[in-house]
Amino acid sequence: MRPFVYEQPADISAAVAIASRFTTNDDQPTRANAQFIAGGTNLADYMKLGVAEPNRLLDLNRLKESGLRQIRVTDDGIRFGALVRMGEAADHAEVKRRYPVIADSLRLAASGQIRNMASLAGNILQRTRCEYFRETSWQCNKRVPGSGCAAMEGFNRQHAVLGGSDACIATYHGDFAQALIALDAVVHAEGSRGARSIPFAKLHRQPGDTPHIETDLAADEIITAIAVPAVPWARRSLYLKIRDRESYAFALASAAVALDLDGETVREARIALGGVATVPWRAGAAEQSLQGKKLDETSAEAAADAAFAQAQPRQHNAFKIELGKRTLVRALLETRDMKA
């Protein structure tokens, strides 16, 4: 690991000030000299592997604003402070009651120890686990722009079938983000150019020709909170995660589903897919195909077909199309049958 400077700014404005001093407007947050660290479960790992190379770490854990550590539930929705730990949010009684899909997505992620360390903002910004990205001797456009993509023709079983490009097919592995994008969450951020709100769906960028650009954030922007609007019928929601083992593994395919039902007929469906796409993935076409329809195995299958209509398989990941569809079908049926 390379030597680096470690600082503990006292409040958000101090953190932003230091960050903007050591970064430029063009810097990507993941490539900048100065980078924020929260739980460190992702960043410290990548620093040890030589994948992330900040020479200055700004630890957010001492920031004095208490809202950063709070979960606030109101009639307008729910607001998660950026530094709330995954474990705390997963166990929160109101989150479990009002938004089972959020609680599930966190509960089924990582391990108890990691959930106790990892922050919610860090979670949504977690970087891909592409094996070729993690090990610096491989070619990787995301790590070293323009160097090529070893995964494209390599062992790409875990790679994305949706949202990829010729430059990069790395999967976005997070679970929480699928619940957030399905529920139209908004991310609050503060940087040297002021505070702003970013619709969750705009936060992550598809790789396109520039896979090293991962989010819409500037290098000196701190996420302060994540807000989920009130969606009363989200009590009928769940997160289904299919993986190679029962726990402590990333999704091969997952689905976040929330349903507003009139009897068995769908008034509105919210669907996001994990494990199969390069970014958190809202399945709009699938949602539309269900609207006004009776939800049964046939309509669920049609929705799943719509969700994967644009999917592009590679040598080892073609199964994810079929698996992703079946995951969605099962998630839809299980959500329908929930007692909510």
């Binding site: 690991m1 390379r2 030597p3 030589g50 686990r129 094996e131 070729y132 993690r134 090990e135 001797s137 070893a150 023709e153 390599g154 062992f155 079983r157 875990q158 299919i242 993986r243 190679d244 083992r245 029962e246 726990s247 402590y248 593994a249 091969l252 395919a253 199964f319 079929e322 698996l323 079946r326 995951t327 079908v329 099962r330």
Partner: protein, 759 residues
């Protein structure tokens, strides 16, 4: 009732807790890389990023500029020491710093040594190799492989076993199958990382390194360094998982020893998880073709097993499991052939039940297919083919309790409730499947020495250079002394894992309990003989008694008559403070050189299929239930039952623990575990525990181990059959059979993953 401590049945010892359990769970056990050592310097490896070619240039300037860097050991620096040797104690013949040729991915190109671990790692990362690259051969079907017959390439695999006229019998068989199976590359990934800590005191070298073979390493390291083995000491008191990976010494050990010499300081090198994939051994991928022919009555008349195994270019590592599969059932005729397929890979090595895991997987999967083809219950099919003598040499089995294992496991599992129809069993959205398979492991034993001292205070000190790799050998050796000397276990201290102790064989092949306990038994009996002689001598407290009438218990010599004498008093009367005995055990059939070879670190193994009088194996039967989701097809294992018979069970707790661990591993081998190779580059891809999956707690639900009583005095004086490697043999086939039962899909290539069930 405590499941972890099963009540002993006939011929089983007490479930004593491990003597080192408290040390381990309280962090007081110092594993080799934990040991505090003054003035230590840290080493980190730089490894190749290509699998084939030559290093044309090594750029060291950036690394040299790292503050705290002390030294870089690389090409040229090892010229004064000898290259490693492959076999016995050596993992490979590749001397990575002796030669700029790159034979495999992740080959060592340098060792950076610095004041801190971080500086060493940083320097190693900055070492830049330039290569003249060649197109490497990755594995089966890659261009450039060379296929050679395995027989004779390894002293452990002399010939392809055969019996009768397979071709004729197969041609005539009424029912037959001809199928191919495969198993993937696997790496041991013990949680304790690989490490070497070396320091010199004058010309005396001490190496702390997790090792399953301290005596063998002492001799081999001395050979490489061209010094007297008496000047080398290997210390490895605790090992955090080995599974074979810490059996052979790798080239790193000598490199670190040289670095320590150059610096005149202790040097410690811990390899990273990723580096372990290329710098250590592994289980190579295998392929199999099995043909079975049988009459309609279910009697097998013809069995052929062909195997292919990947190995490195320079070293012919062979597992050759056909010697076990060829003896499993009453086949009529047997034909086997094993081939090695050479590729540009690091040299494979032992991994828990090296031959049996892949070969018995193929055999048992085929047996299940054959039972289906015959329309027969798979347990019944095995019962019909239970042999009286083994089919190759027509020798008897020293003992064979397979059918009893099947009966007990089937009963506990509830096999009778299984509906044999494919796909007939369901639980809501879940398809239910049940399957079974046989486990077999050869019972071997090797020469071993041990020193036991009984003091007048009633304390016992037991010394033996064996290795506590987690099996509980320290506990069972203590237990043997406790039983023979009548001293409670808390008065017994057991020293192991040090090449300055009496030599023991490599802790591999499940021989340790048998070999160590046989030596301890000998030493204890020699102590008893002396005590009895003194006690029964004229004027002694038990004068006139015969040795056969005496027992040692509770610190006393007790005669059948009821008379007794305190051991303490007997020793006092003898005017000694202690009796110490050094025993050298040699198994029946040992050659005149057997003990010499033990001290030379090249012990001979006896038993298994090697003996004249009988073949010696331990057996088991495993039953598995799987559940497969109707939609998404993930496979879960809610239940597994295994019944095993392995001669005398020294300690039912440690025995159960070994078998349970094996079964859990077997589930992982069936469903998860595989090292992925990028075939373009012959490089490993999933080189960490994020992507190299093994079961987690949530994967293992209801697991039951049944210890089936068995008495077998023929195997060794202790009557013990090794069981450390028995538990994971057969499990994967049982899972495959259950998956077939649930879905009608026969998966022949491991691991069985979701994608194979989606189509």
């Amino acid at each position: 009732m405590d499941a972890a401590a099963p009540r002993p049945k006939e011929n089983m010892g007490e479930p004593l807790p491990r003597v080192d359990a408290r040390l381990k769970v309280t962090g007081q056990a110092h594993y080799p890389a934990d040991l505090p050592i003054a003035n230590i310097a840290y080493g980190a490896l730089a490894t190749s990023s290509i699998a084939k070619g030559k290093v044309t240039k090594l750029r060291l300037d950036d690394a040299r500029a790292v503050p705290g860097l002390l030294d870089i050991v690389t090409y040229g620096d090892m010229d004064k020491v000898d290259k490693p040797k492959f076999g016995n104690s050596g993992a490979t013949s590749i001397g990575p710093l002796h030669d700029r040729t790159i034979f495999h991915d992740g080959q060592i190109v340098a060792l950076a040594v610095a004041e801190t671990f971080e500086a060493a790692e940083e320097a190693a990362r900055l070492i830049r190799a330039e290569y003249e690259e060649e197109k490497p051969t990755a594995t089966f079907d890659s261009p450039g492989t060379a296929t050679i017959p395995a027989a004779g390439k390894s002293p452990l695999f002399k010939e392809d076993v055969k019996a009768g006229d397979f071709d004729a019998a197969y041609a005539d068989a009424a029912v037959k199958i001809d199928q191919r199976y495969s198993t993937p590359t696997q790496h041991h990934n013990p949680i304790e990382l690989f490490s070497t800590t070396a320091f010199w005191e004058g010309d005396q070298l001490t190496v702390h390194e997790p090792s399953q073979n301290v005596t063998g390493w002492k001799v081999e390291l001395a050979r490489q360094l061209k010094i007297d083995p008496a000047k080398v000491r290997i210390v490895s008191p605790f090992i955090g998982g080995a599974f074979g990976s810490k059996g052979p010494m790798t080239p790193r050990t000598a490199i670190v020893a040289v670095a320590a010499k150059r610096l005149g300081r202790p040097v410690r090198c811990v390899t990273s998880r990723m580096q372990a994939f290329g710098t250590q051994t592994y289980r190579a991928e295998t392929r199999h073709r099995i043909r079975i022919g049988a009459g309609r009555d279910g009697h097998i008349t013809a069995f052929a097993h062909e195997g292919w195994e990947v190995t490195s270019r320079p070293d012919p590592y062979v597992v050759g499991g056909t010697s076990a599969t060829g003896r499993m059932y009453d086949y009529g005729s047997v034909l086997t052939h094993v081939s090695l397929v050479q590729a540009d890979r690091n040299t494979p090595g032992y991994m828990r039940s090296p031959p049996e895991t892949p070969y018995v997987y193929a055999l048992e999967n085929a047996m299940d297919e054959m039972a289906v083809a015959l329309g027969m219950d798979p347990v019944e099919f095995r019962r019909i083919n239970e042999p009286k003598t083994e089919p190759i040499g027509k020798k008897p089995f020293s003992s064979r309790s397979l059918i009893r294992c099947y009966d007990e496991a089937a009963e506990a599992f509830g096999w009778a409730k299984r509906d044999p129809k494919i796909g007939a069993m369901r639980d809501g959205e879940w398809l239910v499947g049940m399957g079974c398979a046989t486990a077999i492991y050869p019972t071997a034993v090797a020469p071993c020495a041990a020193r036991v001292r009984l003091t007048v205070d009633g304390d016992v000190r037991l010394q033996c250079g064996s290795h506590e790799i987690g099996t509980g050998v320290r506990t069972v050796a203590g237990q043997m002394a406790s039983e023979r000397l009548g001293v409670s276990i808390d008065r017994i201290s057991v020293e192991m894992g040090d090449s300055s102790l009496p030599p023991a064989p490599v802790s591999g092949g499940s021989i340790s309990t048998a070999s160590v306990c046989s030596a301890v038994l000998m030493a204890c009996d020699a102590i008893r003989t002396k005590l009895y002689a003194a006690a029964t001598a004229e004027g002694g407290p038990l004068a006139g008694s015969h040795n056969e009438e005496l027992e040692l218990a509770g610190g006393k010599i007790v005669a059948k008559s009821g008379a007794s004498a305190k051991v303490e008093d007997v020793l006092k009367a003898m005017q000694v403070g202690a009796i110490e005995e050094y025993a050298e055990f040699a198994p029946k059939g040992a050659t005149p050189d057997a003990l010499k070879k033990l001290y030379a670190g090249t012990p001979e193994f006896h038993g298994g299929d090697q003996d004249e009088d009988s073949v010696k194996y331990a057996f088991g039967a495993e039953f598995v239930e799987v559940r497969i989701n109707r939609h998404t097809r993930e496979i879960r294992v809610p239940r597994i039952v295994g019944a095993f018979a392995a001669g005398r069970i020294m300690n039912t707790r440690t025995a159960r623990s070994q078998l349970m661990g094996g079964m859990i591993w077997g589930i992982g081998q069936a469903l998860q575990e595989a090292t992925e190779i990028d075939r373009r580059y012959a490089r490993y891809v999933n080189r960490d525990l994020q992507d190299y999956l093994v079961p987690v707690n949530a994967d293992i639900k209801d697991l039951q181990v049944i210890l089936v009583p068995e008495v077998d005095p023929a195997v060794n004086p202790a009557g013990v059959k090794g069981l450390g490697e028995l538990g994971n043999v057969g499990t994967a086939a049982a899972v495959a059979s259950a998956v077939y039962h649930a879905t009608g899909k026969r998966i022949r290539d491991l691991p069985i993953r979701i994608e194979q069930l989606l189509v």
